[in-house]
């Protein structure tokens, strides 16, 4: 039997060594940011059982990350108002480069690569102009800034790449909240706030904009998930009065009205107006949201829009799709898998897992 090592050695001998790929890593399946007990911050690669495959220190609190589609390379973003994004070699945890946003901009904590891996897109705040921006970076040139365009709204947060007949699209959750580094994370525009979900071409042409009804204008559209059929799941964070009865998860398909999950179910208030992460089940028939404030994961059936399951989990936030169900991470260091009704504690680390769990591949 040909061993993997022997096979690679053979390739090396023939000069046919492939460039490094994700397969070289011994299978990290997810990326996640965390805080250490000493108060430091890191990015970790996790196996599909939640075991740590590598860690890489970060200079400040991280948030999401973007994985290069081919090379075992990821960009870890600082949490907003972020001033860094570190490119990390996921084989070793070594930092390959540090991106800094242009003057007058900060990162929001999310980004994606183009499908061919040639470009990185980042959500940014052009804070002097109160404008949401997508930054474009050329990967081959050591992540050189090459362009930027409007995100289609204020406060772009999560973003995803969506495959479409006519090509690739960027989906951006424009949370609607204006902030300025001079005032930290203070929300400057609640009276005018109007979040949206924008569909953009890779060149920044606006192809569709979704807004919810005016009575939901304080519901900041913040995080996204994509289903196999191109549906976009979004999770929101309510900025209005506490105790309001609100949908937190919605579904969007271009050209059809958005659908809100669990409306009129009083259990929505268990989420305390706060969706952390959102993920589809692998069959695409359910969508789940984490709420660290509510200390639970709620699962909704897409067809009926009904809440079908609640899983209490203290300080849960990271949530991602796995081959068989969902994986969740908590600020108490837990990593769990949720497969239908079965909740399995996979790992417990001496780390506080931050939002998010980013799936590789």
């Amino acid at each position: 039997m040909t061993t993997r090592r022997g096979f690679l050695a053979g390739l090396l001998a023939t000069g046919l060594a492939p460039s490094p790929s994700w397969a070289d890593l011994g299978g990290p399946a997810f990326l996640a940011a965390a805080k250490t007990p000493q108060g430091g911050y890191l990015l970790a690669g996790l196996s599909d059982q939640g075991a740590i495959r590598f860690t890489c220190p970060l200079p400040g609190r991280g948030h999401a990350a973007a994985a290069h589609p081919q090379r075992p390379e990821a960009v870890a973003f600082a949490r907003r108002p972020g001033r860094f994004a570190d490119v990390i070699d996921c084989r070793t945890g070594a930092r390959l480069a540090r991106l800094e946003p242009p003057k007058g901009h900060h990162f929001y904590g999310h980004g994606v690569f183009s499908p061919d891996g040639s470009r990185l897109y980042t959500t940014e705040n052009d804070f002097e102009n109160g404008r949401g921006v997508i930054g474009v970076w050329k990967v081959a040139r050591g992540y050189q800034r090459s362009a930027s365009f409007s995100s289609g709204g204020i406060g772009p947060h999560d973003m995803l790449l969506r495959h479409h007949e006519a090509g690739q699209q960027i989906v951006v959750a424009n949370g609607g909240i204006e902030t300025h580094p001079d005032s930290g994370r203070a929300k400057l525009n609640l009276p005018q706030m109007r979040p949206n979900l924008s569909l953009l071409s890779l060149d920044g042409d606006v192809q569709d904009v979704m807004e919810l009804a005016p009575d939901l204008r304080l519901n900041s559209i913040r995080h996204l998930a994509l289903s196999a059929d191109g549906g976009v799941g979004f999770a929101m964070q309510w900025q209005g009065d506490l105790g309001a009865d609100l949908p937190i998860v919605g579904l969007y398909h271009p050209d059809t009205p958005p659908r809100l999950m669990g409306e009129d179910d009083p259990r929505l208030r268990h989420l305390q107006g706060y969706g952390g992460s959102v993920a589809f089940t692998p069959d695409g028939r359910k969508i789940a949201v984490s709420s660290p404030r509510g200390g639970l994961v709620q699962v909704m059936q897409i067809e009926s829009a009904e809440i079908i399951q609640e899983i209490p989990l203290a300080d849960v936030c990271g949530l991602a799709t796995t081959a068989s169900g969902l994986m969740a991470s908590t600020g108490l260091g837990q990593v769990l898998t949720l497969d239908g009704p079965t909740v399995t504690h996979q790992q417990s680390h001496d780390l506080a897992w931050d939002n998010h769990l980013i799936r590789l591949g």
């Binding site: 948030h63 309001a244 660290p292 936030c317």
Partner: protein, 355 residues
């Protein structure tokens, strides 16, 4: 129908608390607590179950059954038997309303008893529809139990009894029967919760090998309910009517129609205090800090003299309500910093500062 209401001290909102020497009452309670030597302390979980949860649920069953019985023959609450029955049952619910896990969450039972806050005005909308339609089918208990949750429970019943528009609905007979069905539904739901506690859930908490993996998880569940109760107090019962200084929202006070807003704050504090004490598990210094931190807002709440929290809109009175909210938030901070870690509960990394 169970036996009539056991004689307990019922203190409707309109009884002025000033007639009691509250401070001495609290000291007396503290003194009694001190008589029990630490060596004889029961297990924390047993203590909470046997002294708080199970008797609390039994009280709710008894008083809601009495309310259901009274509602069959009475329809106007003013100053009479129905008012007392309503007050007692509602009191008993408020005192267990922080126990939002297990039996109360099955089939949305807690929401069926208490749909509050009602930020979208679903209660008045649902009841207006019911009164308009005057459908006899709705009066059948099983049908009613399947109807909109906003039209059930203590807050819907309050609306039927105390809202002038509902009280003057043309179909007076229908309204009275609907109220009686609603009261019976409350009693049925309360009974279902209590039965689950008695028949299985208490045992699952005592022998933590299934639903709860160990005793630590059970204590964490109780700790969570303590926090749920305090959060409800600070953010909902006080935060919602307080609104902003330039935009107070007095009509968001809980149960203002029946004049019970202030009273609920007192009741909740009085129910949460022994839970916190039990969870402190004999740590005398911590218990003393908790006693002091509970005593401040409890005394202030008792002395507000503002049954419906109308003072939120009056700057001179508002400061006392804001101070009360602050004292409850201080209490939450103390509990998070001094009680949580001993129970293995650390402040939430994501819940406090997510993105």
């Amino acid at each position: 129908m169970s036996s009539p209401l056991p004689q307990r001290i019922a203190l409707p909102f309109f009884v002025s608390w000033k007639v009691f020497d509250v401070k001495h009452l609290l000291f007396a309670v503290a003194a009694i607590a001190c008589l029990a030597p630490p060596a004889l302390r029961a297990d924390v979980v047993d203590e909470v179950l046997d002294d708080q949860i199970l008797p609390g649920m039994q009280a709710l069953v008894d008083s809601s059954a009495y309310l259901a019985q009274t509602a069959q023959t009475h329809c106007t609450p003013e100053g009479g038997k129905l008012r007392d029955a309503y007050d007692q049952a509602f009191d008993d619910w408020i005192q267990v309303s922080h126990l939002r896990f297990g039996p109360s969450e099955t089939k949305n039972r807690a929401f069926a008893l208490a749909f509050w806050p009602d930020s979208r005005g679903k209660i008045p909308k649902t009841l207006a529809k019911h009164l308009q339609a005057a459908d006899p089918a709705l009066l059948e208990p099983n049908t009613f139990a399947q109807s909109s949750i906003a039209g059930r429970g203590f807050y819907a019943l309050e609306f039927l009894y105390f809202d002038p528009k509902a009280a003057s609905a043309p179909a007076a007979a229908y309204r009275c029967t609907l109220a009686a069905v609603m009261a019976q539904d409350i009693a049925t739901t309360a009974r279902a919760i209590q039965q689950d506690w008695q028949n299985s859930y208490a045992a699952q908490m005592r022998n933590a090998t299934g639903r709860y993996q160990d005793e630590a998880e059970v204590k964490q569940e109780l700790f969570k309910s303590l926090n749920t109760g305090l959060q409800m107090l600070a953010d909902m019962r006080l935060g919602r009517p307080l609104g902003r200084f330039d935009a107070p929202r007095p009509k968001r006070a809980e149960a203002w129609r029946s004049g019970r807003s202030q009273h609920h704050i007192v009741l909740a504090l009085q129910a949460l205090h022994p839970l916190a004490t039990a969870l402190a598990d004999g740590d005398a210094a911590l218990i003393a800090r908790l006693d002091a931190a509970f005593e401040r807002p409890t005394l202030r709440a008792l002395r507000l003299e503002d049954p419906i929290l109308a003072g939120v809109a009056d700057p001179a009175k508002r400061i006392h309500i804001e101070a009360l909210q602050q004292e409850i938030n201080d209490l939450r901070t103390l509990i998070a910093s001094d009680l949580g870690p001993a129970l293995g509960v650390l402040a939430g990394f994501n819940s406090l500062d997510g993105d």
